[in-house]
């Protein structure tokens, strides 16, 4: 556990990717295979099965700390993390603990069917033998949800260095449904019969947003126009009968979208397609929230697969019949793509429609109608351009719709970071509900000038109702116009709605709090 805590401290005390990768590399070079396997599992969101409920864990922590439960709960509210709150309130350790990570986990597993009294004795004894960081990690083993700023990509990079293997091979090896109980470190990472070239994706080409007048792009005849869909950018690879789906973050997302494995039964092979993964609900395009509910799971339930089936809207072809065709002009790649989609002939793959408009002004009108078909705007692609690497100007432009806006009242303010540490820059906003009360619905920052931030900071300081560490509740007086890209229902928010990309558009000095929008105005946008 000490070794693991040391790794955690190193990862948690730097924001630099290179130092994180070094720390991971050093850890994997020296850890036992059992411990290493568990660390990989924990950092890939595979946690041990829960042995103790969090409710009872809070009671034990409050009891051992000699504080009332309400004070524990308030502290939890401020710290925001249960495992951390427990680690912080407990009295200092009495003894030390030399057990390894994997031993601590198997000890925890052994408690699964024990009575609460036995569990309590074991957990309290362990707490009293661990320092604050070790306690935090031990609590995380129980409560789950390891977020230590280590992405799968970083994990793969550290492992690749420690094992002297390629990053894509490691990423590929780590995919799938394994757990530390079903696989050994040896089998997972070191077995010989592994070939990763099949799964390897190409770097994505990323578009810039149109700034200024779109007509400056020249003749419309030189451009191919498509809708911009609000999904997840993905690369769909089928090589030698195997299918791989990669996200733009270069994570293998086969497990999140198992339906694409059916493509092995369809015609067409040795191709790499670029497109937008979307989900459907009741025959229509699902919301972005629906899509997110398919992500980050090691297994998608059969119910969800049926309720929210996925498909990919494809718009580019990077490899055709085993050949890299990225240097062919956009228009030629498109012809091959159309031929391929016809050949595959599956509902899983839909061709992105090419929009033919007579003029830029016709196109502007078409763009205005994009939201009605759940698109975010348009994409403009130069017909003679190759498929490039990374974000480059010239070939692709995104031309998004103007966002939704709403006027809202600021209720909480929090200090910013970076160069804005001495200003209140992060605000929580509310609108009026039917009972005439303000309900919070979004947190947003950015969008104001430094001068405006200074002015709002003055207001916050002079009108604080209560301070909670870096957060203050303020008199409901200031009104801001909030822009956002999408809206959906949410049971997790008090207001019952969740916004996508909310941000401050401008300060409405001309409006009083009473003139802010109402919750029903937001609900109306739910359609």
């Amino acid at each position: 556990m000490k070794h693991f805590a040391n790794l955690f401290r190193q990862l948690d005390s730097t924001t630099k990717t290179s130092l994180k990768v070094n720390a991971l590399e050093q850890y994997f070079r020296t850890a036992t295979p059992q411990d290493a396997l568990w660390v990989i599992a924990l950092f890939s969101s595979k946690r041990p099965r829960r042995t103790v409920s969090t409710t009872i864990l809070r009671e034990w922590a409050a009891e051992l700390s000699e504080i009332p439960l309400w004070l524990f709960e308030e502290s939890y509210h401020i710290a925001g993390d249960l495992a951390e709150t427990i680690a912080l309130v407990l009295p200092p350790a009495q003894t030390t603990n030399e057990k390894s990570l994997s031993t601590i986990i198997s000890d925890l597993n052994a408690l699964r069917n024990a009575d609460d009294e036995v569990k309590k004795a074991a957990v309290l004894e362990t707490w009293q033998s661990l320092d604050s960081d070790q306690r935090f990690l031990f609590n995380k083993l129980i409560t789950g949800g390891f977020r230590v700023g280590v992405s799968k990509k970083l994990l793969a990079r550290g492992l690749a260095k420690a094992l002297d293997k390629s990053e894509t091979e490691i990423a590929h090896r780590l995919m799938g449904d394994w757990t530390p109980d079903t696989v050994t470190y040896q089998d997972l990472l070191l077995s010989d019969d592994f070939d990763d070239s099949l799964s390897k994706p190409y770097p994505f080409y990323l578009a810039y947003a149109v700034d200024g007048d779109v007509e400056e792009l020249g003749s419309l005849d030189d451009w191919m126009v498509e809708y911009k869909w609000d999904g997840i950018r993905g690369q769909l690879i089928k090589r030698q009968g195997e299918v791989f789906v990669w996200s733009r973050g270069e994570e293998l997302i086969n497990a999140s979208f198992p339906e694409f494995q059916k493509l092995t039964e369809y015609l067409g092979d040795d191709y790499v397609i670029d497109g937008e993964i979307v989900v459907h609900r009741e025959g229509k395009l699902g919301s972005f929230k629906d899509l997110q509910s398919r992500l980050g799971r090691k297994k998608v339930s059969a119910k969800r697969l049926k309720e929210l089936p996925a498909s990919i809207i494809v718009y580019d072809l990077l490899e055709y019949r085993g050949k890299d065709i990225r240097n062919l002009p956009q228009s030629v790649r498109r012809q091959h793509l159309e031929a391929l989609v016809k050949e595959v002939n599956s509902d899983l793959i839909a061709l992105s429609q090419v929009i033919n408009a007579g003029s830029w002004s016709d196109l502007k009108e078409i763009r205005e109608g994009a939201r009605a078909i759940d698109a975010e705007g348009l994409m403009l692609k130069r017909s003679d351009a190759p498929y490039q690497v990374g974000r480059r100007k010239g070939g692709w432009w995104k031309w998004k719709l103007d966002p939704y806006t709403i006027d809202a009242v600021m209720l909480y303010a929090q200090r910013g970071h970076g160069r804005r540490t001495n200003l209140y820059t992060d605000y929580t906003f509310a609108v009026w509900n039917a009972d005439g009360k303000l309900v919070t619905f979004a947190k947003a920052y950015s969008g104001l000038t430094d001068a405006e931030f200074r002015e709002v900071t003055q207001f916050v300081k002079a009108n604080t109702i209560e301070a909670f560490g870096p957060v203050r509740s303020v008199k409901p007086e200031l009104v801001f116009e909030i822009a956002f890209e999408g809206i959906s229902k949410s049971s997790r928010h008090k207001s019952g709605i969740a916004l996508r990309f909310p941000r401050i558009l401008r300060w409405r000095r001309d409006k009083k709090a009473a003139e802010a929008n109402r919750l029903e105005d937001l609900e109306a946008l739910l359609e």
């Binding site: 948690d12 009332p68 524990f72 502290s75 401020i78 912080l88 700023g149 970071h417 970076g418 560490g469």
Partner: protein, 336 residues
């Protein structure tokens, strides 16, 4: 907030007021006579006609409020009388010169403690509990999640971080208030590791304190021509880190020293590499032990987690209530 606990000290729109003496403690508006607990800007404000503070605070007040101010310094423990009310100042351990104000009239004793910490940092005269009937306490870190490690352990962590930077030939930049945190850090850190540079604001403050005989570590001026600060420690207020000045120290490892760094979320939101839990305010245990040691039955809780901390004190048998003030407690990365 509703009832009045004391006729002796009241909270009004200008500060903590003793009507009998016609004196304010740490007023946030101009008054005739002000007693100042310590030199931080939320407690010592300009514009009052006369000031009384600890002898050690006098040079600090003159530096910050102007040399022309009418100020009188008193020794810790020395009593003085204003309109029949007896006052004395007692060490609060917060920063150099910080004091608790003891107020006694007709046998009733109140103590306004300003900001305080119970750990002895070696340069801010150590906190001494003062027996009283009523105690006014801050609550900046008044939740059980805030428990500081022994000061020596945190200093050891900082020494190790600096040594590591030295091994890697990188500058080590740490943020600290120019008054208070900077001195407790400089006094305790292992100065044999390497040269220590200070931001202008910190060097100026140090000079004031050194000339007054209150401090003995001078930090070097940053020379903009010098290119290599590898292995050096640079102490700056938070604002310095965000300014062009910080461009002199490319490749530096950055750190923040603050009680707020106890929370992982706060550490992660900072754009610094390391967060060290170092505060000039009392932690949870410190607040509780300090209050207990006064023997007070009435407690007024000001700036911080006032509602929660006073609710807790009520369960512990105190008659506690909250008062709103304009004191700020420990502000993360504020400009000093």
């Amino acid at each position: 907030m509703s009832q009045t606990t004391s006729d002796l000290l009241q909270f009004d729109t200008k500060g903590i007021y003793c009507r009998q003496a016609d004196v304010y403690i740490d007023p946030w508006r101009s008054v005739d006579k002000a007693i100042i607990t310590h030199g931080h800007s939320d407690h010592a404000r300009s514009g009052s006609k006369s000031y009384i503070c600890s002898k050690q605070s006098v040079p600090i007040l003159r530096h910050r409020l102007g040399s022309q101010i009418n100020v009188r310094g008193v020794k810790y423990g020395e009593t003085f009388s204003v309109n029949g009310v007896t006052f004395s100042l007692h060490p609060a351990g917060h920063i150099i010169g910080s004091a608790q104000v003891r107020v006694e009239y007709k046998g009733e004793i109140w103590v306004a403690s300003g900001d305080y910490k119970t750990q002895d940092d070696g340069i801010s005269t150590a906190f001494t509990p003062v027996k009283c009937h009523g105690f006014i306490t801050e609550s900046t870190f008044g939740l059980p999640i805030y428990n500081w490690k022994p000061l020596a352990d945190t200093i050891q962590d900082i020494n190790e971080w600096w040594s590591q930077c030295k091994d890697d030939n990188r500058p080590a930049i740490i943020t600290a208030y120019s008054l208070g945190k900077a001195q407790s850090l400089l006094h305790n850190i292992d100065r044999s590791i390497g040269p220590i540079y200070g931001h202008g604001a910190i060097n100026k403050m140090n000079t004031v304190l050194i000339e007054a005989g209150l401090f003995d570590v001078q930090t070097l001026d940053v020379d903009l021509e010098k290119k290599d600060y590898g292995g050096c420690l640079i102490v700056t207020p938070g604002s310095g880190l965000n300014s062009k000045w910080a461009d002199n120290f490319k490749s530096a490892s950055t750190a923040s020293a603050s009680g707020w760094m106890a929370l992982r979320g706060a550490r992660r939101r900072r754009s610094v590499d390391r967060g060290f839990v170092l505060s000039d305010h009392a932690d949870w245990k410190g607040l509780n032990s300090a209050i207990k040691a006064t023997g007070a039955s009435k407690v007024i809780v000001t700036h911080g987690y006032q509602e929660l901390f006073s609710k807790w004190l009520n369960t512990q048998g105190y008659e506690a209530l909250t008062q709103k003030t304009q004191y700020e407690g420990e502000v993360l990365e504020a400009v000093n």
